[in-house]
C-alpha cells in the first residue's frame, strides 16, 4: 500500500513540479518623455556685456523683500515686472525703429533742402532780373492805395477806414525805412539806390525822399556804391520819425523837464559815435564798404555822411549824460515823442508816437496777432476779415518781412529789387522766394525764369514739402514718445511700487542702481540705493582666478564700502553680499513709511534694529529682451551666520535709461 502511495506521489510531482516555476511576464516598458530645459541665453554674457573686453552697464529698478510671500503677491510682482520690461523694450524699439529713422530722415531732408536752396541761389541770376524788377514794380506800385479804393467801391470797407488805412500805411513805410537804415544791409554796395520796400516806393516818391541825385543816384562804376548817406540824409532825416524843428529827443534818463535837451540830429550823432559794437558802427567801420571815407576822422565821417554836412559841435569822447541817454533811447527804439513831455506835437500823425518797430506790425503781424487788424479794422464777419487780410497784409508781409532770427536777413523785396554788387563780411542769405512767388501776387514771375531755375525751384519746393512732412512726423513721434511711451513708463514705476501695498506681507521696497564694470578680467559691481542713501557698496572680482581684487580709494570713493562678490560663468550669475552693520539705516535701510500716492516711491517697513548685524545679498543673472538688457534675481537678508535667510525677495532691473541716453546722444534725438 505504501509503495502504491509513493508511486502516486511521484505522479503528482510530475504534474505539480512544472507548475509555479514560471515568472511574471515582463511588463511593457512605459514611455518616459522629457521636456527641454530652458537654457541660459547663448549670449548670457552679452546681457551683462561681460564678453566685451571693457564695458560698463548700469541697471536700475526695484528690490522687493517679502516676509512670507504668497502666490498672488508674487503674481502681482511678476505682472508688474513683465509689464515694466515690455514697456521699456517697446520704448527702445520705438527709439531704434521710429525715432532714429525719423530724425535721420529730417536731417537728411534738411541737408537736401539746403543743397536745393543753394542751387536755387546759385542759379538766381538765371533769370532776367531787370524784367523781374520792372514786373514787380508794376504790381507793387500804388497797390495798397488801389486796393483800398477797390475795397471801398466793393463796400468791403468805409471811406473812413480807407483814410485810416492810408495813414497807417504811411507809418508802415516809415517803419521799413527805419528798419533798413539801422541794419547791416545798408553797408552793402549797390548798383542803384536800394528801396526799403517795393510796396512803399510810391509813398517815398510822394514824400520827396531820396531825391538827392548825388547821394541817391546810380553807382558810377560797376564796383557799386554805398547808399548809407542817401538813406539817412535823403530819407531818415526827412522822415517824421526824426523831426528837425524843435522837437525834443526822447531821452528817458535825462533829468526833469527844464533840463537841457538836444535836437534829434545831435542825438543821432551821439548815438553813432557811441554805438560801440552796434550794427551801425559795424557797417560804418567796414573800410571796404566806404573806401572813400578812409581819410577822414571817424567823427567827421559820421557827421558828414549822416547829417549831410551839418557841422555839429561834437566831442564824441565826452561822456555827456544827455547824449549818452539819448543814444540809449535810440538803441532801445523808444518812441520819437515821449508821453508827457512838453513838446510841440502839432502836425505829427498819431502813429509817430509809436515805437518804430511797432510800425512794422501794422502789416507784418501774423494772422494770429492782435495787431493784425491795425491796417483795416476787424468786423463782425470773419470771412470778410480774412479776405481783407489776404489782399493786403497777407501778400505784403511775405514780400516785405526781414527775418531777424540770428541776425537780419533780406526780405523778398530786398533780394529782388535791390541790386547788390558787394556785401563783403555779410553772409549771403536768400529770401524765401517761394513764399511770395508761389502766391497770387505775381502770377507772371515764373515766366521770367529759365527752365533750369524753375526745375530747381520746384525741387526746392518739394524738398521743403518733404522736410515739412518729415518734420511733422518727427515732431509727432517725439510727442508720442514723450507723452505716451515715457509717460506709460513713468506711470508703471508708480504702479510697480503699488504691488508693495499688498497686505499681509512685510515688504521692503527700494530703488537701486547697479553698475557693472568690466575691464579685462577685472569685474567691478557697484550697488547703490540712491534714493535712500549716498553710501555705495562696491565689490571687485577677478573672474579668471575667482579671487577678490583690491579697490583703489578712487574706485571706492568717499562713500564706498567693500562688498563681496562671486561670479558663476555658466549662468552669468553675480552674487553680491555686504554687511548691514549696526546702522543699516545709513546704508539705505531707514524706516521709510509708505507714501506712494504722494509720489514717494521707496518705502521700508523693516526696522533698522531688525536688520542690524545682518547682511544683504543679491544674486542676479542677465538676459536680453530684444534691445533691452535685463537682470533677474533674488534678494535676501541673511542672518548673522550669513546662511539663514530672514527675508527673501526678488530683484529685477534693466539698462533702459543708460541705453536710452546713449541712443539719444548718438543720434541727436534731444533736438
Amino acid at each position: 500500500m505504501q509503495s502504491k502511495i509513493a508511486r502516486a506521489l511521484m505522479v503528482l510531482m510530475v504534474f505539480v513540479a512544472p507548475i509555479g516555476c514560471g515568472r511574471a511576464k515582463a511588463p511593457q516598458i512605459q514611455p518616459r518623455g522629457t521636456v527641454v530645459a530652458p537654457a541660459y541665453p547663448v549670449d548670457a554674457t552679452q546681457a551683462l556685456q561681460l564678453a566685451e573686453a571693457k564695458t560698463t552697464i548700469e541697471f536700475n529698478s526695484n528690490v522687493l523683500l517679502w516676509d512670507q510671500p504668497t502666490g498672488p503677491q508674487v503674481q502681482a510682482i511678476l505682472d508688474s515686472t513683465r509689464q515694466t520690461r515690455l514697456l521699456r523694450a517697446d520704448a527702445l524699439d520705438t527709439i531704434n525703429r521710429e525715432l532714429i529713422p525719423a530724425k535721420k530722415k529730417v536731417d537728411g531732408l534738411q541737408a537736401a533742402l539746403q543743397t536745393a536752396k543753394q542751387k536755387v541761389e546759385s542759379a538766381g541770376t538765371a533769370r532776367d532780373q531787370v524784367a523781374i524788377r520792372a514786373y514787380i514794380h508794376s504790381v507793387t506800385d500804388q497797390y495798397v492805395e488801389t486796393t483800398l479804393k477797390d475795397l471801398v467801391a466793393a463796400n468791403a470797407i468805409s471811406a473812413a477806414d480807407q483814410t485810416h488805412a492810408n495813414l497807417l500805411w504811411e507809418g508802415y513805410c516809415e517803419g521799413k525805412l527805419w528798419e533798413l537804415a539801422v541794419s547791416p544791409l545798408l553797408s552793402r554796395l549797390y548798383a542803384t539806390r536800394p528801396t526799403p520796400n517795393g510796396f512803399c516806393d510810391a509813398y517815398y516818391t510822394r514824400k520827396g525822399y531820396f531825391a538827392d541825385a548825388e547821394l541817391c543816384g546810380p553807382a558810377a562804376s560797376a564796383d557799386g556804391k554805398n547808399y548809407f548817406s542817401c538813406i539817412w540824409t535823403a530819407g531818415v532825416l526827412k522822415s517824421p520819425l526824426i523831426p528837425t524843428t524843435g522837437i525834443a529827443a526822447n531821452c528817458a534818463n535825462v533829468t526833469p523837464p527844464g533840463a537841457k535837451l538836444v535836437t534829434r540830429p545831435q542825438a543821432i550823432a551821439s548815438w553813432i559815435a557811441r554805438d560801440g559794437s552796434g550794427p551801425l558802427q559795424k557797417a560804418l567801420r567796414d573800410d571796404t564798404a566806404l573806401p572813400n571815407l578812409k581819410t577822414k576822422t571817424f567823427g567827421q565821417l559820421l557827421v558828414e555822411t549822416i547829417l549831410g554836412g551839418q557841422q555839429i559841435p561834437l566831442q564824441f569822447k565826452t561822456q555827456s549824460p544827455e547824449l549818452f541817454s539819448c543814444r540809449k533811447a535810440f538803441n532801445n527804439n523808444l518812441a520819437s515823442v515821449p508821453a508827457g513831455r512838453d513838446v510841440d506835437a502839432s502836425g505829427v500823425p498819431y502813429w509817430q508816437q509809436d515805437n518804430p518797430n511797432n510800425l512794422l506790425d501794422i502789416v507784418e503781424a501774423g494772422e494770429g496777432s492782435a495787431l493784425r487788424y491795425t491796417l483795416l479794422p476787424k468786423t463782425d464777419h470773419t470771412e470778410l476779415d480774412h479776405a481783407n487780410f489776404v489782399k493786403l497784409g497777407g501778400v505784403i508781409a511775405p514780400f516785405s518781412v526781414r527775418d531777424k532770427t540770428g541776425g537780419i536777413k533780406p526780405s523778398y523785396s530786398d533780394s529782388q529789387l535791390n541790386e547788390v554788387i558787394g556785401q563783403p563780411g555779410l553772409v549771403t542769405i536768400a529770401a524765401n522766394i517761394d513764399v511770395v512767388e508761389m502766391g497770387p501776387l505775381f502770377p507772371k514771375l515764373t515766366s521770367f525764369e529759365t527752365k533750369a531755375l524753375s526745375d530747381l525751384k520746384a525741387a526746392q519746393a518739394n524738398a521743403m514739402a518733404d522736410l515739412a512732412k518729415a518734420q511733422d512726423e518727427w515732431d509727432a513721434k517725439k510727442v508720442a514718445f514723450n507723452k505716451v511711451t515715457m509717460e506709460a513708463i513713468k506711470v508703471n514705476i508708480t504702479d510697480a511700487a503699488k504691488v508693495g501695498e499688498v497686505e499681509g506681507a512685510s515688504v521692503f521696497l527700494n530703488t537701486y542702481v547697479m553698475k557693472i564694470e568690466k575691464d579685462g578680467d577685472r569685474l567691478k559691481v557697484r550697488l547703490a540705493f540712491e534714493q535712500m542713501t549716498d553710501q555705495v557698496q562696491v565689490g571687485c572680482l577677478n573672474i579668471a582666478t575667482g579671487s577678490a581684487c583690491d579697490l583703489t580709494p578712487e574706485e571706492l570713493g568717499p562713500n564706498g564700502h567693500v562688498a563681496r562678490i562671486t561670479f558663476d560663468r555658466s549662468s552669468s550669475l553675480i552674487t553680491l553680499t555686504f554687511d548691514l552693520g549696526e546702522h543699516p539705516e545709513n546704508l539705505g535701510f531707514p524706516v521709510h513709511p509708505r507714501n506712494i500716492e504722494g509720489g514717494d516711491i521707496p518705502f521700508n517697513a523693516i526696522a533698522p534694529a531688525t536688520l542690524a548685524g545682518k547682511s544683504f545679498q543679491v544674486e542676479v543673472y542677465g538676459n536680453q529682451l530684444r534691445d533691452l538688457p535685463i537682470v533677474t534675481g533674488n534678494a535676501y537678508v541673511l542672518d548673522g551666520d550669513g546662511k539663514s535667510r530672514l527675508y527673501t525677495g526678488s530683484l529685477t532691473g534693466d539698462a533702459f535709461y543708460q541705453i536710452k541716453a546713449q541712443l539719444f546722444q548718438a543720434n541727436g534725438l534731444s533736438k
Binding site: 502516486a8 509555479g20 511588463p27 537654457a39 541665453p41 504668497t70 508674487v74 523694450a89
Partner: protein, 413 residues
C-alpha cells in the same frame, strides 16, 4: 497620487482553493467511513488586467494612470521658489489642477497556489476536510511619465526674456524629467515601498470544512458543507502598492448547499450555493482620502469585509471507465467592505471602501481521469484521480481578470 489600496484586488483565490473541487464542479459525494483523501490542488494564473466598476477591462495598474498637476510640482519647493512658481502660474492663467504630464504603468503578476487538502470520512455521511494552501506570487511593475504640451509651454514661458525665470524653469524641467524617480522617492519618504518588482511566498488562509450528505440515491444527491476560513495567510501590506495578499486576515464561516441530479448515461447536473460571512476584524490601513493618497499616515482600523455569495451549476460526464469531464458556470459576488470606528475619518472610510464590491462570472471546463471506478471493480490497485480544469472569467466588476489553470490530484487511501 496613487491609491495604496490593493492595486491587485483580492483575487478571491482563497475561495478557490478553499473548495474541495473546482469552482463550479461541486458535487454531493462524501468519503466512505474511514477513507482518507489527499488532494493536491495547484492553481496557476497570470494577470495584468482588471475590471472597473462598469465591468470594462482596464490595465491592472490603472490606478497608477494619474496626472501630475502643477500644484504637486510646486508643493515641495522652498517658500520663495514655491511662491515664485505659483505666482508665475497665476500670472499665466495656469490652474493648480492643470495637468503637466501623465504617469502610466503596467503591472504583471503571476500567482501559483499549491493547496494540499486532507479529507477524512468520519461517517458514511460526514466528511471532514482541511485545506492549507501555499502561495507563491510575483509582480513586476514598470512606470513611465510623459510630460504634455502644457509642460513644454511652461518651460517656454519661464524662459521668455520678459519673464526671465530661467533658473526656475531649469529646476522645474529637472523635476519633470525625473518624475518617476521622484515619485518613488516620495513613496519611500512616506514609508511606502518603491514601485519595483515584488515577490513572496507563504501560507494562505486555511479552510476547515465538514460536508454532510443528506440524500444519495439513483436520482439525486443533496449535501451541505459548512466550515470556516482561518486567517493564516499573509495580509495585504498597506505600505506595498503592488503586493498580493495571501489571506483576508479575518475568520470567515461559510455554509454551502449542493444538489446533484443524476441523469442517464452517467451524466450529472449539479447546482450549489454558498454564503461566506467574514467576521469583523482589525487591520492596519493608510488613512487615504480621494485627494491625498500618499502623504498619509497609518492606523489600525476596524473593518468588516463584505459577505460573499458563490453559486454555480455544472454538467458532468463520468463514465465508468474512468473519464471525468464537465463544463460549468459559476457566479461570485462580494459585498463592499465597511470601515468603522473613530480611528479613521469619514473621508478616509469612503476612500478605503471604494471599489471593494466585486462580481465575477466564470465558465469552467474540466477533463481528467479517475481510477476510482476501476478500483471499485477491483481492476486497479490504487484509487486516484487526476483532473485539469480551466476557469475563464467571462465578466467581472472590480476584479482582476484571472483565467486560472487548475490541476487536481486526488489520492484515496
Amino acid at each position: 497620487m496613487f491609491s495604496p489600496r490593493p492595486i491587485i484586488a483580492n483575487l478571491v483565490l482563497c475561495a478557490l482553493v478553499g473548495s474541495t473541487s473546482a469552482f463550479a464542479f461541486e458535487d454531493t459525494k462524501v468519503l466512505p467511513k474511514g477513507v482518507r483523501n489527499l488532494s493536491i490542488r495547484t492553481v496557476d494564473t497570470r494577470f495584468n488586467q482588471t475590471t472597473d466598476p462598469s465591468g470594462a477591462s482596464e490595465p491592472l495598474a490603472h490606478l497608477l494612470y494619474q496626472d501630475l498637476t502643477f500644484a504637486q510640482v510646486v508643493r515641495d519647493d522652498t517658500k520663495l521658489k514655491g511662491a515664485q512658481l505659483r505666482g508665475f502660474m497665476l500670472q499665466n492663467g495656469i490652474q493648480d489642477k492643470d495637468s503637466i504630464g501623465s504617469f502610466s504603468a503596467e503591472i504583471t503578476g503571476h500567482l501559483t497556489v499549491i493547496a494540499p487538502i486532507m479529507a477524512f470520512g468520519i461517517t458514511s455521511k460526514l466528511t471532514l476536510a482541511l485545506a492549507t494552501p501555499i502561495y507563491q506570487a510575483q509582480t513586476k511593475t514598470n512606470v513611465g511619465f510623459v510630460p504634455n504640451e502644457r509642460a513644454q509651454n511652461l518651460m517656454a514661458l519661464l524662459a521668455k526674456p520678459e519673464n526671465a525665470q530661467i533658473a526656475n524653469g531649469r529646476e522645474a524641467a529637472g523635476k519633470l524629467n525625473d518624475a518617476v524617480n521622484r515619485l518613488n522617492n516620495k513613496l519611500a519618504n512616506n514609508n511606502f515601498q518603491r514601485l519595483n518588482a515584488w515577490n513572496s511566498s507563504g501560507p494562505g488562509d486555511a479552510t476547515l470544512a465538514a460536508k454532510y450528505q443528506y440524500i444519495d440515491n439513483s436520482a439525486m444527491g443533496l449535501a451541505s458543507t459548512t466550515g470556516v476560513v482561518m486567517p493564516t495567510g499573509r495580509r495585504k501590506d498597506p505600505d506595498v502598492l503592488n503586493d498580493i495578499p495571501f489571506g483576508e486576515g479575518v475568520w470567515a464561516p461559510f455554509a454551502q448547499i449542493a444538489v446533484d441530479e443524476k441523469l442517464p448515461q452517467q451524466f450529472t447536473v449539479n447546482q450549489y450555493a454558498k454564503y461566506t460571512l467574514p467576521l469583523p476584524g482589525q487591520k492596519s490601513v493608510r488613512t487615504i482620502t480621494y485627494d491625498e493618497l500618499v502623504e498619509v499616515g497609518s492606523t489600525n482600523a476596524r473593518f468588516k469585509e463584505g459577505d460573499k455569495i458563490d453559486a454555480g451549476t455544472s454538467l458532468r460526464y463520468d463514465p465508468s471507465f474512468g473519464l471525468v469531464s464537465g463544463i460549468g458556470y459559476s457566479f461570485l459576488h462580494k459585498y463592499g467592505d465597511v470601515y468603522r470606528g473613530d480611528g479613521v475619518s469619514t473621508d478616509s472610510k469612503k476612500a478605503l471602501q471604494r471599489w471593494t464590491d466585486q462580481t465575477a462570472h466564470n465558465a469552467e471546463f474540466m477533463l481528467g481521469y479517475s481510477t476510482v471506478p476501476l478500483y471499485q471493480q477491483g481492476r486497479v490497485p490504487v484509487p486516484f484521480s487526476l483532473r485539469a480544469s480551466y476557469v475563464k472569467q467571462l465578466a467581472g466588476r472590480n476584479m482582476p481578470i484571472t483565467n486560472l489553470a487548475q490541476f487536481d490530484f486526488d489520492l484515496f487511501f
